[in-house]
Amino acid sequence: MQVHRPYTLHDALALMAATPTPTPIAGGTDLLVSWHHKPKEKLALLDLSQLGGELAAMRLTADTLELGALTTYWDVIASPEVSRAFPLLAEAARQVGAMQIQTRGTWAGNIGNGSPAADGVPVLMAYDATVVLQSTRGRREVQLDGYYTGYKKTVRLPDELIVAIQIPRRTRKAEWFEKVGARAAQTITKVGVAVVNDEKGWRVVANSVAPYVCRCRNLESALQKGQKFKSPEEIRDILKNDIAPINDMRSTAAYRETVLSRVLFYRLADKA
C-alpha cells in the first residue's frame, strides 16, 4: 500500500493520473473503517490533508455556496451564515455519525464514497448541487443529480478529483430532511429523505432505498401538479416507480417503502 502526500493541487492531480490509480482520502471516516479488510498491496491512497489552503475554503456569495472539497460537516455546523442560508446542510451534518465523525468527514468524501446511505448527499441533491471535477486535462462541472450511474458507480473518471461542490441560493417555500435509523444518533440510515420546494419546483431525494441516492421524479411531478394525498398508500404507489429498496442487514424493502411513504405523507400534510 502506498500513501501519496502531495502539497499542491497541481501535484495531487498529477498523482491522480498515476498507476495504480490512487483513492483520494480526506477525513478518512469511510476509508479507514473498511481498509482493514482490503488487500493492501494494490491500495494507493492520495492524502489531501496538506492541500488545506486550496481546497478547504467555504465561500458564501449572494447567489452561490461553494464548499471546497475539504469542507467538513463541522465547518457547516459551526458557520451560522451557512446554516441559516442552507438549513438542511446543518441538519444533515448533525446526523452523520457522532461529533467525532462530523469534525473529520467531508461533503465531497460523502459524494465520492457513493454509499446509497450517504446522509450528506440527499440534502445536496435536493438543493441542486453541482460537483466540480478537476484533472490534469481540465475542469468540468457535473450535476449531482446524474453523478451516480449504479451502486458505488459514478461519472467521475479515474484521474479526476472532486475539488468543490456548488449550491445555488434560491428562495424556498419548503425544505426538510428526515433520517430514520435504529436509534436517534450515531446510526446508519435505514431510510432518509430530503424535500425542497423552490422557484424551480419540487425536489424529493431519498437515500437507502435504491443502489444510489436518487430523486423521486414521479412523486416530484405529482407534487408539481398540486396533487394532494389522502393516505400514505397513495404516495407509496407513486414511489414504486421511483425507488428500488432491498432487504439487507439494516432493514427490509417493505419497511423502507412503508416508512418513506409515511414520513412523506405526514410531513407533506403539514407543509404542502
Partner: protein, 206 residues
Amino acid sequence: MRDDPPSSPSRREFLQTTAGTAAAAAIAGSVGGPVVATAGAGVTTADGPRIEGAVPITLRINGKDRKLRVDPRTTLLDCIRETVDLTGTKKGCDHGQCGACTVHVNGRRVNSCLSFAVMHEGEEITTIEGIGGPDSLHPMQAAFVACDGYQCGYCTSGQIMSAVALLKEPCGADDAAVKELMSGNICRCGAYLNIVSAIQQVRRKA
C-alpha cells in the same frame, strides 16, 4: 507499577519487548521475498528502531513537537500509543464506532483510529495526558471522579476528551442534548447516567 523495582519490567514493557521480538522474527523470515512493510512493526538496528518504508514527520502533541519516523499506514491512534508511548488514549473498536480513542486535533474532537498520523503534520494534537494529570486534574476529570462516571475505566479517557470538547460546542442545556453530543462514546459498563451528571456539573460551574 510505580512501586516496582527498576529491574522489574512493567506489563507494558514486557508486551512491547515480546511483540518487537516477534515482529523481528517475522521480518527475518521474509528475507529474499518481497519486502512487505507491516504498519507498526519495528526492527531494532544499531541506529535504533527502524521501520521499513517509514517517513519522517513532526507531530505537535500536548504542546510538544515530536520528531518521529512512522510507516505512512500508521493510524494516529497507533502512533500516539505505540510510537509516542502515550497510552492514556485507548483502542476500542478501531473503526470509529466506540470513541475510546477520542483526541483533540486543533481543538476539535476526532476518532484517532480514523486517520493516518502523517495527515496531522502541523496540527495541534491533545491527548488525555495533555488535559490534566493526577496532581492537576482538569475540572472534567475531577467531575468524573466525583460523580463516579465510570466502572472499568477503559472508555473514560475518550469520554473525558469528548466531554471537554463538548464544552465549546453548540449544545443545549438539557441532559438530552448532552446525551446526543456524547453519542459517539460507548460505555460498555453503562455508566452513562453518571457521565452525564459529571458533564452537567462542569457546565453549571462554568
